[in-house]
Amino acid sequence: MIAIVDYGAGNISSVKKALEHVGAETQVTNDPQVVAVASKLVMPGVGHFCRCQGLNSNLGSAVMQSISRGIPFLGICVGMQWLFEGSTEAPETPGAALFPGQCCKFPPHVKSPHVGWNRIELRHESRLLRGIQDGAFLYYTHSFRAPVVEQTAACTYYGGTFSAAVERDNIFGAQFHPEKSGPTGLRILENFCAL
């Protein structure tokens, strides 16, 4: 069972629908005990980084414990940003610091939010992005972006280069929305489900 972690960050029905479409059994939950027994975790999230404050709790601890036990974890959008140290969007809200650096706003010379389909550039071998072409288009909608780090599996260019996907052992993050990225996105979710 894949637990979809509901920490109050917006709309999660699309993620649930897409995971079920690729054959996964899911449960939306904010219960640390359900998180503890899940075989995989998906943490969506749209909107303001301050919502991650909801992870400063037993729920967040349960997520961290599962991650340290090697349970595959996929953070989407703000759910990926949470994997970093924090975001200038809500400096008082800590991230999980599983990847280094802070998420920052786009520079003023580009329109923000970054909305629409943009290309990814593959950086290194990735289990999450297996079978995805270099230059594939994925759907984005966000105003803050994560830095490019050693564990960046793919990056995207918009007012500079940012992390489109990060990957380290059992920890995966996607800034784009796989659940809204057509067949390419569904393939990425399939890859995660098959781990």
């Binding site: 917006g10 709309n11 029905s13 699309s14 629908k17 897409a18 479409h21 749209v46 909107g47 303001h48 003023p108 580009v110 329109k111 923000s112 939010p113 970054h114 909305v115 629409g116 389909w117 943009n118 290309r119 288009f137 759907y139 909608t141 966000h142 105003s143 995207t156 260019y157 918009y158 007012g159 929305h177 659940e179 809204k180 990225s181 057509g182 067949p183 996105g185 569904l186």
Partner: protein
């Protein structure tokens, strides 16, 4: 599909945009829905039936539409709520962004639409009546989920005189479109959906002047709507009109243009498109 050659200055604009970003311009298929069926009016009147929304949405997405917008066009006028069941049925097998508008008056209305599977909601009349609604929905679901739809009419006047109309294009508000777009952004809108009521349903082309004026006024993406008739109109609205996305309804439903064919032609003209689509 025939296109006339774009002018040199137009090509330069497009090229500059392409160099600064790979972000694709979006082609959005719009389903105007009345009582659970897709219809499309000419200047919001004379509705013609073009089918089942769930089926059409999926057909458009598979054909390469970058997004789907569903507008319950009679909801406001008749005081009805958007048909949540239609949204749920349409969202079920749709894996591209899905926006729903029409008759959303409160945060609770919006929450019901999101729960049914929409990714974004579009507000129009209710936002004009209660601008605080934009911020309320944005605070709960994020700005990316809130589109403010601006239906503007200017006749032969200057773009600065374009006026906002509500209630499905039946009621003038006295609000200037440019000023309202700026306020909508300040209150937390993530995108502006600009419909030229002068052009809507005419197939005479988008109002590029008005679109460019709004795009220059706000820093959030602008979706141009109203008037798409041929591929040249799309080239114009993405270059001279500075639109981030273009929305059309009837030209897709009635098979005038396959989306993939339209996107191929736009790519050939140097407009960045999601490809393969």
């Amino acid at each position: 599909m025939k296109t006339s050659a774009p002018s040199d200055s137009l090509n330069n604009d497009v090229l500059n945009n392409a160099l600064s970003t790979h972000l694709a311009k979006r082609i959005i298929a719009c389903l105007d829905v009345d009582a659970g069926r897709v219809v499309k009016g000419v200047q919001f009147e004379q509705l013609r039936d073009a089918g089942d929304p769930a089926k059409l949405a999926q057909i458009h997405a598979e054909a390469g539409a970058d997004e789907i917008v569903m507008l319950d066009i009679t909801a406001t006028a008749e005081g009805r709520r958007t048909l949540v069941d239609t949204v749920r049925r349409t969202a079920r097998h749709l894996f591209v962004p899905f926006t729903v508008g029409g008759g959303i008056r409160t945060l609770a209305d919006a929450a019901g639409i999101f729960d049914a599977g929409a990714d974004k909601i579009s507000v129009n009349s209710a936002a004009v009546a209660n601008p605080g609604l934009i911020g309320e929905i944005a605070a709960r679901f994020g700005s990316q989920a809130v589109i403010v739809a601006v239906d503007a009419r200017r006749g032969s006047s200057d773009v600065t005189d374009a006026e906002v109309w509500v209630a499905g294009g039946r009621k003038p508000t006295g609000l200037k479109a440019l000023q309202w777009a700026r306020e909508a952004e300040a209150r937390g809108a993530g995108e502006i959906l600009l419909t030229s009521m002068d052009r809507d349903g005419t197939g005479a082309g988008f109002d590029c002047q008005l679109t460019a004026a709004i795009a220059g006024e706000v820093s959030i993406p602008v979706i141009a709507s109203g008037g798409a008739g041929n591929v040249q109109h799309f080239i114009e609205v993405f270059s001279a009109g500075k639109a981030d996305a273009a929305l059309a309804a009837s030209i897709f439903h009635f098979g005038t243009h396959a989306v993939a064919e339209l996107k191929q032609t736009l790519r050939d003209a140097g407009i960045p498109m999601r490809w393969p689509c």
